[in-house]
């Protein structure tokens, strides 16, 4: 554990009095990320909950320079910033802060472009698995079976496998994290920050109001997602895939907690048919077979 509470006390850069819903996982993530990043970062916030969370101008609860920008423009604006700071001889990390809609859907082309160019930026996807800011509508990152206002009968497709897609861009660093495991998240952000090139970190952010659970359980859901192996904690560092300790048990199907334990806490999975749960388990199983083979070097991307 490289970052103890002492560091956290000194470095968190989210100020109280945000416009976020109570129990917001994006706020938890912002506090942890800023702790790991320190001062020398500029945030590029694309359309989403975080556009609102900052509060009303001329004030903002993000104690960072922030460029608020249109949905699809984050990675490209960050690219321009990175080049500008390079020209000015300043060591400042542009950090894109985007939701899963901004990442998996509307912003994907610019994300892919910036990754392909290996721009010196850090992209953080705060993945609450839907367009929460507009009312929880399905995105490419919404999982199979989840009920949303635009998929009232449950989503028919699986979650887009963004971490693997980003790994396939062969960038220096790709990692996943969860608000259930703060130290893992902070360590990964600290590593990503030091890369001289593109890094991508996707943080699972269980959303009480979209997933429909008691906000006091946000951290718990973040843990359950990992324990049931629904959400993998992995790290792809300079071409090598590592499974984070919190997820190592997932490599063996016998040591996984049943995904049902994760689903039953969420209103979006109320009355989910057994066959959907089966399909979801199947998806998780296949995901772990892939990760296992990658991890053991049997296949490569």
């Amino acid at each position: 554990m490289s970052l103890g509470t002492r560091d956290i006390l000194n470095k968190g850069r989210l100020l109280s009095g945000t416009s976020a819903c109570p129990g917001c996982p994006e706020n938890i993530t912002m506090r942890l990320v800023s702790t790991a990043l320190g001062k020398d970062a500029v945030f590029i916030v694309v359309a989403g909950c975080s556009s609102i969370i900052q509060g009303i101008g001329p004030n903002s609860v993000y104690n960072y320079p922030v460029l608020n920008i249109a949905f699809a423009a984050g990675p490209s604006a960050a690219s321009g910033m990175a080049r500008a700071f390079k020209m000015r001889g300043k060591k400042v990390k542009p950090v894109v802060w985007a939701g899963d809609g901004g990442t998996a859907d509307i912003g994907f082309a610019s994300l892919s472009g910036a990754a392909e160019r290996n721009e010196n930026i850090l992209y953080i996807c705060v993945d609450n698995e839907a367009y929460m800011n507009t009312g929880g509508h399905r995105s490419g990152s919404t999982p199979l079976g989840a009920k949303t206002p635009t998929t009232p009968a449950g989503k028919k497709e699986n979650k887009k496998d963004l971490p693997l897609i980003m790994i396939a861009h062969h960038v220096p660093y790709v990692a996943t994290a969860s608000v259930g495991y703060p130290h893992d998240l902070m360590n990964k952000i600290a590593k990503a920050k030091d890369k001289d090139g593109f890094s991508y970190v996707q943080v699972l952010c269980p959303d009480p109001y979209g997933w429909l659970f008691d906000p006091s359980k946000t951290a718990e859901l973040g843990k359950l997602a990992v324990q049931t192996c629904y959400w993998p904690l992995i790290e792809y560092n300079e071409g090598k895939l590592e499974i984070s300790p919190e997820s190592l048990h997932c490599l063996d199907i016998r040591t996984r907690k049943p995904v049902k334990e994760f689903l039953k806490m969420q209103g979006r999975y109320r009355n989910v048919p057994d066959e959907t749960v089966k399909e979801l388990e199947d998806y998780i199983d296949k995901m772990w077979i892939r990760f296992k083979e990658l991890y053991e070097g049997k296949i490569s991307i």
Binding site: C24, I53, G55, P58
Partner: protein
């Protein structure tokens, strides 16, 4: 030419940009100081930065929204959520 007409959409970091969010609260976290072991788990997870750390933690009620995460992550159950009513 006076430049008074120039007005730009810029902001500066400031506490409470989202308002005095303490009044959103329907339940309030109350710390049992006898039980608190100062581990700061509540501090780590608080989404609003309203836990004031120290040997024992305290809470900034001006901004605390009462989400209850602190109560849930506390390993010694030292934080109780109490109705504001």
């Amino acid at each position: 030419m006076s430049l008074e007409y120039q007005y730009f959409p810029v902001s500066r970091p400031s506490k409470g940009a989202g308002g005095k969010t303490g009044n959103w609260r329907v339940v309030r976290p109350v710390v049992n100081l006898d039980k608190c072991i100062g581990c700061k788990a509540c501090y780590l997870w608080c989404p609003e930065a309203t836990i004031i750390p120290g040997d024992k933690v305290s809470i900034d009620y001006e901004y605390c929204k009462g989400c209850g995460i602190c109560s849930n992550v506390c390993p010694v159950k030292a934080i109780q959520m109490v109705s504001e009513a």
